[in-house]
């Protein structure tokens, strides 16, 4: 299936729940609300025409100081899906508000989401509801804050031993 056909199939199925679509450098992207995110992901995996059986990547973006994004939610979670049987890809995005940074977990759909969601929690501080084991993946437990948030001070150091800063 080609990218425009994938987007058309998802728009046909979810209608107004699809907030926007675009294609950047051939990467076809679907923007949905956080409420319908899990439903969309499940459909992507289980639909016979789509069969996105692989979660290539799960990450987030912090648009805190991004020009032109003042009125949109601060964060976005980004899912890159790939289908081995059909050899096609799609990208799903959903906005996440700063005051309620909770995203439904995708672990029941793709087990790899376990570590990817832990990394997003580690770096961006987005919580994943009903994640089986939401601990930091890369940083140490004593670390305070989430370093890839744009308001994390670029010079802030938190060494375990040795001088601070």
């Amino acid at each position: 299936m080609q990218g425009p056909d994938i987007l058309a199939r998802l728009q046909e199925r979810f209608g107004a729940a699809v907030l926007a679509t675009h294609a950047e450098h051939g990467d076809h992207t679907l923007l949905v609300g956080l409420g319908t995110l899990l439903e969309v992901l499940r459909f992507c995996r289980d639909d016979a025409a789509l069969q996105f059986d692989m979660l290539m990547d799960l990450t987030a973006v912090d648009y805190l100081t991004y020009p032109g994004r003042e009125d949109t939610p601060r964060f976005e979670v980004v899912y890159h899906l790939y289908s081995v049987p059909h050899n096609h890809r799609v990208r799903i995005k959903a906005g996440v508000e700063e005051d309620a940074p909770v995203v439904p977990t995708a672990v029941p759909l793709w087990p790899i989401a376990n570590w990817l969601e832990r990394e997003v929690w580690d770096m961006y501080g987005l919580r994943f509801a009903e994640h089986p084991d939401l601990r930091r993946l890369l940083l140490y437990e004593q670390f305070e804050g989430h370093p890839l948030r744009k308001d994390y001070p670029v010079t802030r150091r938190q060494p375990l031993i040795g001088p601070r800063n």
């Binding site: 940083l139 140490y140 150091r157 938190q158 375990l160 031993i161 040795g162 001088p163």
Partner: protein, 152 residues
């Protein structure tokens, strides 16, 4: 100079000469500098010419700690523990610019120079350093080992 001083100085010189040619290193390899370390250690550059050909993978049997590669804050306590487990006399070589200063990893994750957590004898800058500069650093370390008062 008394007779006792004469013998102490000669003993120091003999011990220093022996120690500089019997370096048992502990390679603490964490990143890409490890490739240059391997190139230096293998037959083409042959670190064994300087008597440093036998890496010991136990800190308790090693004299020189080669810190090769970026050290993150999460790794720092491990490195310090390895250093503390080594027996005297011991020396530390900072191999590559990440261990010297943190290099271009000026961020939340990286130790800005391992000399913030343990004493360093020789700094070998480079990203990564060529084997020639590693051997140069090794010879400087040998000079440092050979001169001065030996502990025994």
């Amino acid at each position: 100079m008394g007779v006792a001083d004469f013998f102490t100085t000669k003993l120091d010189a003999a011990l220093g000469w022996a120690r500089k040619y019997s370096i048992f290193q502990y390679p603490f390899v964490t990143a890409c500098c490890g490739m240059e370390y391997m190139a230096t250690a293998c037959s083409h550059y042959d670190v064994d010419r300087f008597g440093a050909g036998l890496p010991r993978f136990s800190p308790r049997q090693a004299d020189v700690l080669f810190v090769v590669g970026t050290i993150s804050h999460k790794m720092a306590p491990v490195l310090r523990r390895v250093y503390d487990q080594m027996t005297e006399p011991k020396w530390v070589v900072a191999f590559g610019v990440c261990t010297c200063t943190g290099g271009f990893y000026d961020n939340y994750a990286t130790v800005q120079g391992i000399d913030t957590i343990l004493p360093v004898d020789v700094y070998i800058p480079g990203c990564p350093p060529r084997p020639e500069s590693v051997l140069d650093g090794l010879m400087k370390l040998q000079d440092k080992i050979a001169v001065g008062r030996q502990r025994y």
